[in-house]
């Protein structure tokens, strides 16, 4: 308890000491050098520093006080060039107000700071500049007026870096197209030539779905899809080996051909399935040989035109000729030899095998008679006799002879 009292006394003294007035030094921009109390000493250094602070340190825009303390002052402007005479500012305020005036004048804003408004510039463009105008303006001295040109396309020509616009009517191409333009813009009309269409036409270039009329296609390679049956094609894109096209009634189908090369096979076709197959040929009669024809005994071979003459029952030669020996019709006779009146010889083409064969001869003269004389394998002599008495050789108006035998 004894110790607490001195401590409290000490603290109170310190507090009182702190409450006593003491000189304060100012610090930072826009601050005064120091504040002064009565009884403070004022030295030369203090004086210097005070003026340095006032005249230099704090003499900057950020330490100067504002001018627009209210809206009126904010909106205050002064014309720096009234009636084209310079109005000199006498204060910084005056300078600001003159600048405000120019800003407001240039922008057309209601106030010099109202930048959210649309600026309205006033004044006139120079009259001597080269303008391109829609209509002719009498004020302008170097304009190019589009309204002064005729209707057409604009053609720009340049002379010494100066463009000059003129209008030209263009070129009308009837059922043709402008193939080229000359320097004056005039077109050369031309029809579409084959060379214009050379090369492939991309699918993207084909507009529409139908080709109504075509000409004659003289060359080229078809690389399209298969031509359908309904369009006159086969509808097929492959040609398989050993197949043939048959119709099933609605389309062409490739039907395979079997290999039927055997002597006893034959190609067969089934209409129901449109399929081919190999069938077996039933054994038939074969052609008779010469020996078989001459034997005349077989019932398993057939007589054919080429061997029929070898049958013993078939005439081996026959002929009809006149009295001079001229043949009117014959078979297997090479000639008739007219030896004398009533004496003719038949010369046989394919000889008999011997002189043993039969000849039937007759004549076309009533009452005359005929006889067979010399017979050898290749000839037979026929004699004509007068029918009256005495008998003598006599011609027939027509001679007939037929021979049977083995050749």
């Amino acid at each position: 308890m004894t110790m607490r009292r001195p401590i409290a006394t000490l603290l109170t003294c310190l507090l009182l000491i702190g409450l006593l007035p003491t000189p304060v030094l100012a610090a930072g921009a826009c601050s005064i050098y120091r504040s002064w109390n009565v009884g403070d000493s004022f030295t030369a250094a203090d004086a210097t520093q005070s003026f340095v602070t006032v005249g230099q340190t704090n003499m900057i825009w950020s330490c100067l006080d504002d001018y627009s303390a209210n809206v009126t002052q904010m909106q205050s402007t002064v014309d720096p060039y009234p009636t084209s005479v310079v109005s000199l500012a006498t204060t910084g305020q005056g300078e600001l107000e003159r600048l405000r005036y120019v800003i407001k004048k240039l922008t057309g804003w209601s106030q010099w700071y109202a930048h959210t408004e649309t600026p309205v510039f006033t004044g006139t463009a120079p009259d001597g500049a080269t303008y391109i105008t829609q209509t002719t303006n009498a004020t302008l001295s170097a304009e190019q007026s589009l309204g002064a040109l005729t209707t057409g396309l604009l053609l720009n020509t340049v002379t010494v870096s100066t463009g000059v616009l003129t209008a030209y009517a263009g070129t009308s191409c009837t059922n043709q197209f402008p193939r080229s333009l000359n320097a004056s813009g005039a077109a050369t009309c031309a029809s579409v030539a084959n060379a214009d269409l050379a090369g492939s036409i991309a699918a993207s270039k084909l507009v529409g779905t139908d080709i109504a009329t075509v000409g004659t296609i003289t060359s080229g390679t078809w690389t399209g899809t298969a031509i359908a049956f309904a369009q006159g094609g086969t509808g097929l894109t492959t040609a398989l080996d050993d197949t043939t096209l048959v119709s099933n009634g609605s389309a062409w189908v490739a039907s395979a051909l079997p290999n039927c090369t055997a002597a006893t096979t034959a190609l067969q076709y089934a209409t129901a399935s449109n399929a081919f197959s190999c069938g077996t040929i039933s054994a038939g009669l074969s052609a008779a040989s010469q020996a078989e024809m001459e034997a005349a005994t077989s019932n398993t071979v057939a007589a054919t035109p080429g061997t029929t003459q070898y049958h013993p029952g078939v005439a081996k030669f026959w002929g009809k000729w006149n009295d001079a020996g001229s043949l009117l019709a014959s078979y297997n006779i090479t000639s008739i030899t007219d030896t004398a009146v009533g004496d003719h010889t038949v010369n046989i083409g394919t000889d008999f095998s011997s002189g043993n064969y039969a000849v039937v001869a007759t004549g076309g003269t009533s009452g005359n008679q005929m006889s067979i004389s010399t017979m050898v394998a290749g000839t037979v002599r026929i004699i004509g006799w007068a029918g009256d008495t005495p008998f003598g050789l006599a011609d027939m108006t027509t001679w007939f002879a037929v021979g049977y035998g083995d050749q």
Binding site: K316, A324, S326, Y331
Partner: protein
């Protein structure tokens, strides 16, 4: 009137006859599309002389000639001449080799128009210098035979009639027939002499003796 036809005249007639025949056949062939070689070939004949002096005429069969002249390699027609590819001359030669006997002479191909169309003197044909002509002496023999045969027939008929008259006691008629027959025999005996006086074929062809009157 007897008219003598010279060989020169005959040759000239044959020449013009061939031209006319050629024009006719050519025209017909053109109009009707007939195979000219075959048609023409029918006029070609092969003539030759036999050892006995007679003339034989080989008449080629048109069918055989046509076969022989078909293009080479043509199918053989059964019963026809088994060769093809020959010309007309070749075909005729092929037939000649086959049908003309080896002992034949004067073998030649002639046009039929050169041969006489008459068959009366056929056995008197002879070949001289490649031309067929009628041998007049041989023709006289033929004509004599013809007339003699007719006289013999008349004699035989008269003998029958005379016998019939004898059987009927008709002596007049029977005697007349005997006289008639004697006249015929005399006529027959005179034939050779009468025919020997004929110097051309035309006269020989038409000549007949003066027959006695039949009772």
């Amino acid at each position: 009137m007897n008219r003598i036809v010279t060989r020169k005249q005959i040759g000239r007639a044959i020449f013009f006859g061939k031209i006319i025949a050629a024009l006719y056949i050519g025209t017909m062939a053109g109009l009707f599309g007939l195979p000219l070689p075959a048609l023409w070939a029918q006029n070609e004949v092969i003539v030759f002389t036999r050892p006995d002096g007679g003339v034989s005429v080989v008449n080629p069969a048109p069918e055989c000639l046509a076969q022989l002249q078909r293009p080479l390699g043509s199918p053989t027609v059964p019963g026809q001449c088994p060769v093809s590819g020959l010309t007309l001359a070749g075909a005729l030669d092929w037939i000649r080799q086959k049908d003309v006997p080896a002992n034949a002479t004067h073998v030649t191909v002639r046009d039929r128009s050169e041969l006489s169309p008459s068959r009366r003197f056929r056995d008197a044909w002879r070949i001289q210098a490649g031309v067929v002509h009628v041998d007049l002496p041989a023709a006289r023999v033929i004509r004599e035979r013809e007339i003699a045969r007719a006289i013999d027939k008349e004699i035989a008929a008269s003998a029958v009639a005379g016998q019939t008259a004898w059987d009927a006691r008709d002596n007049v008629t029977a005697t007349a027939h005997e006289t008639y027959r004697n006249a015929l025999r005399a006529l027959r005996g005179q034939l050779a002499t009468d025919l020997a006086a004929i110097a051309d074929l035309a006269t020989l062809d038409t000549w007949t003796p003066v027959y006695p009157r039949s009772p």
